[in-house]
């Protein structure tokens, strides 16, 4: 029997009737208004609202009048930094999963570059234990490929897999040595588990702090050339093909990287890729402000790169969206750009950013965004959330018509370093169910319902 890979504080399944929402699930071909009855955390009934009332209300369930709103399968983020253990002042399992729930996520994959690194059974074991107490949303863990992310010795990958590691990554750093990576790819044949790679040739990125281009030339900031990423993708794709290994490329940022990934797939390599909402919607032009919220690794690149990522996501060369949620404390970011740590938070804004910047202007269809925001599960051999009778309730209710100012009423995350801070976005998550339980309910939901539908809509949900 294979070990469990996702961990959270298990709560009893909820009972809930979501009435009249437009249900969109590209995998089950749903794209129309439905009533969804959830009993004991499972989707018990799913039917078009045939009569005005739809599914009959019973006194035993909360009813949410969701007419005009959308229900999507819960999002899955294959790339977050929850900062536990060791950097709980930035984020922890509780605040990080709460932040995820507020963004509509029902499952997360956490990176191992914590302090200490998740590179031994002891660290992973205690993390799993804590997740079972604190995580509001199921979380899976990647262990590091090399001890201490030092790139020199393999971790005990087989033991870590037995304890529940989904896979392996040295994220935050590349595996610089091709020989070292090759050994990890070979060892994958014993222990399984996807190997996820942060691609960057440090000889090329050197002391760079932003994309190398016209903006870095203007600002006098050392640049990170796009080829520092794409050359490593090409190298490691060749290794993956040679060893027939399963490799996933994290946070692609450049047009050259999309091309390298496409070429690798055409060669038959078993490779996949992810892109972040910030790389899909922003360019290095915003760095002109020298605001450290825009400092991340890989860096925001040029408009041609952004477009290539969107096109790669649309065509499926890039399979999924990953936030690379990277919380940092205010005092760490409140320093000159070069001194600030890399990273932006992303869980609470991912859907709204993509909806506002890509779906509304017509760059991507809503259905594709939903598919790519859930596809990370399949890539990591985790169950993919589906809206179908009998499935565990992993879904979110989103009001596409709501506009909101990012950070306007604070953040659920412990950190506030959002690159979308202050922007007005369309689309707000109102309710999230993960593993059958309500994990997020927007506090204003009840009153907003009353305000919009007036008294005629009947009883709204009870608390």
């Amino acid at each position: 029997m294979s070990p469990r890979r996702l961990f959270h504080a298990v709560r009893p399944g909820d009972d809930l009737l979501i009435r009249g929402a437009h249900v969109l699930d590209p995998r089950t071909d749903l794209d129309e208004p439905h009533d969804i009855l959830i009993r004991n955390g499972r989707i018990a009934e799913l039917s078009p609202p045939s009569q005005p009332g739809g599914l009959p209300a019973s006194d035993q369930v909360d009813i949410i009048d969701a007419a005009g709103k959308h229900v999507f399968p819960g999002f899955v983020d294959p790339h977050v930094h929850l900062r536990t253990p060791g950097q709980e002042y930035k984020e922890d399992l509780d605040t990080g999963t709460a932040s995820a729930a507020a963004g509509g996520y029902c499952a997360l994959v956490a990176m191992p570059n914590t302090s200490p690194t998740v590179d031994t059974a002891a660290v992973l074991g205690s993390l799993v234990e804590r997740a079972q107490r604190e995580a509001r949303v199921p979380v899976g863990f990647l262990a590091s490929i090399t001890r201490g992310l030092a790139g020199e010795e393999l971790t005990e990958m087989a033991e870590l897999r037995d304890l529940g590691a989904i896979g392996f990554t040295d994220d935050g750093k590349p595996v610089v040595s091709a020989g070292m990576l090759r050994k990890a790819l070979q060892y994958q044949r014993l222990c399984g588990g996807i190997i996820a790679l942060h691609e960057e040739d440090p000889a090329l990125s050197a002391d760079g702090v932003m994309h190398e281009g016209a903006v870095s030339a203007r600002l006098g900031l050392a640049g990170i050339p796009s080829v520092s990423e794409s050359t490593m993708i090409a190298r490691d794709s060749a290794l993956a093909l040679y060893e027939d290994a399963r490799v996933h490329f994290q946070h692609l940022s450049a047009i050259e990287s999309v091309q390298a990934l496409k070429a690798a797939k055409e060669s038959g390599a078993r490779v996949s890729g992810e892109a972040s909402p910030h790389h899909l919607t922003l360019t290095d032009d915003v760095v002109r402000t020298l605001d450290s919220r825009f400092k991340m690794n890989p860096p925001l690149r040029a408009e041609s790169d952004r477009r290539a990522l969107v096109e790669g996501l649309r065509s499926g060369i890039i399979e999924c969206v990953a936030t690379d949620h990277a919380p940092h404390a205010v005092h760490e970011k409140e320093v000159p750009f070069e001194q600030a740590p890399m990273g932006t938070t992303g869980l609470e804004t991912a859907f709204a950013a993509l909806y506002t910047e890509l779906v509304l202007p017509g760059e991507l269809e809503l259905g594709i965004v939903i598919e790519r925001m859930t596809a990370g599960a399949g890539l990591y051999d985790l169950p993919t959330p589906r809206i179908a009778i009998g499935e565990q309730a992993n879904l979110c209710l989103v009001d596409l018509d709501t506009t909101w100012e990012v950070g306007g009423d604070g953040y659920v995350s412990r950190s506030s370093n959002s690159c979308f801070h202050g922007r007005t976005l369309h689309g707000r998550v109102m309710l999230t169910l993960a593993a059958g339980a309500v994990v997020y309910r927007r506090p204003m939901l009840v009153r907003e319902e009353h305000a919009r539908s007036g008294a005629g809509a009947g009883r709204s949900e009870a608390e």
């Binding site: 870095s216 006098g220 020298l290 000159p336 070069e338």
Partner: protein
């Protein structure tokens, strides 16, 4: 004298349009006159405090800012990172907030990091003057360079200026490209390809890796070649650099003028004979520094059309 509305801070040359630059330079002309007097002082900033916060070694910039503030009768506080609380790990924000408690009229800041002056402007009520932030900008250097050229040529319009050397690591180059082009000059940057930033042309200049067409230049602005660049393998050797890029009597045409922000490496980017020739404006640049910085402080802090004490 025209009166453009001055920005609150001087962080970047982009804070000034052409008429703003001209207004500062016109003001500097009147202060240059003060510097020629026996008592080189005007009461313009009497009773006001100016903080010079230098996180990086500097001789001419810090001394000329100090002198500029003193000639305007301001009270001056000089803080250098060595020996201060900065040395003890105090953050830039805490330092600035502490200094702001003295209610300074202006904070002049030099930092090894791009964007530092802009951050400081967000944390204090004082006017902030960028005295160099990383490799980003050094706007008062550019203003004194324009001042020096304007005195010599009357106008920078259609002047052909070459900036030669390590452009990548030079905040002076960036501010000068912006200021020179804004004043109507044509700017070409020239240096080893390893020290020319990719897409530097986006700043409005042209770029070339050789001195082949250097005779086109009316002015050759030579940048300091820092020795540590050699160890970082940007160039194979200072010897090869000097061979390809040194401005010397063999390369310099009689009609051409030479500038340098200092300090000069004699025998590297400039030959000794060139430094000491009358084609070099280096001494005039230094002299302009005090008058231009007086003008910047005055325009930011007082900014009325005519300074009675000077007139």
């Amino acid at each position: 004298m025209s009166t453009t509305r001055m920005p609150r801070h001087l962080i970047s040359i982009d804070d000034l349009d052409r008429s703003g630059i001209e207004q500062v330079l016109d003001r500097a002309e009147s202060f240059a006159e003060v510097s020629g007097r026996e008592i080189k002082k005007v009461p313009a900033l009497r009773g006001r405090t100016i903080v010079n916060l230098f996180y990086e070694a500097s001789t001419r910039t810090s001394s000329s800012f100090e002198l500029a503030a003193k000639r305007l009768s301001a009270d001056v506080v000089n803080i250098r990172s060595a020996g201060s609380s900065v040395d003890k790990g105090e953050s830039l924000k805490d330092t600035v907030q502490t200094l702001s408690a003295y209610d300074p009229a202006a904070i002049v800041i030099r930092s090894p990091h791009a964007g530092a002056a802009q951050l400081v402007a967000g944390w204090t009520d004082a006017a902030v003057v960028n005295a160099g932030d990383g490799k980003h900008e050094h706007p008062t250097q550019a203003l004194l360079d324009v001042f020096t050229l304007r005195r010599r040529f009357g106008s920078l319009d259609r002047l052909n200026i070459w900036i030669v050397g390590d452009v990548s690591h030079s905040r002076v180059a960036r501010s000068d490209i912006l200021a020179f082009t804004r004043m109507g000059a044509d700017v070409t940057v020239c240096g080893p390809p390893t020290l020319l930033p990719r897409q530097i042309e986006a700043l409005g200049c042209s770029a070339t890796p050789t001195l082949e067409r250097i005779e086109e230049a009316d002015v050759i602005y030579v940048l300091r070649m820092q020795h540590e660049r050699m160890h970082q393998s940007f160039i194979p050797s200072l010897r090869e650099y000097a061979g390809r890029y040194q401005i010397n009597e063999k390369r310099l045409r009689p009609h051409q003028l030479v500038m340098h922000p200092g300090p000069v490496n004699r025998g590297v980017e400039l030959s000794a004979a060139t430094i000491d020739s009358d084609q070099a404006l280096i001494g005039e640049q230094v002299k302009a520094g005090v008058a231009v910085r007086m003008a910047v402080l005055y325009e930011l802090l007082v900014g009325s059309p005519i300074l009675a004490a000077v007139a």
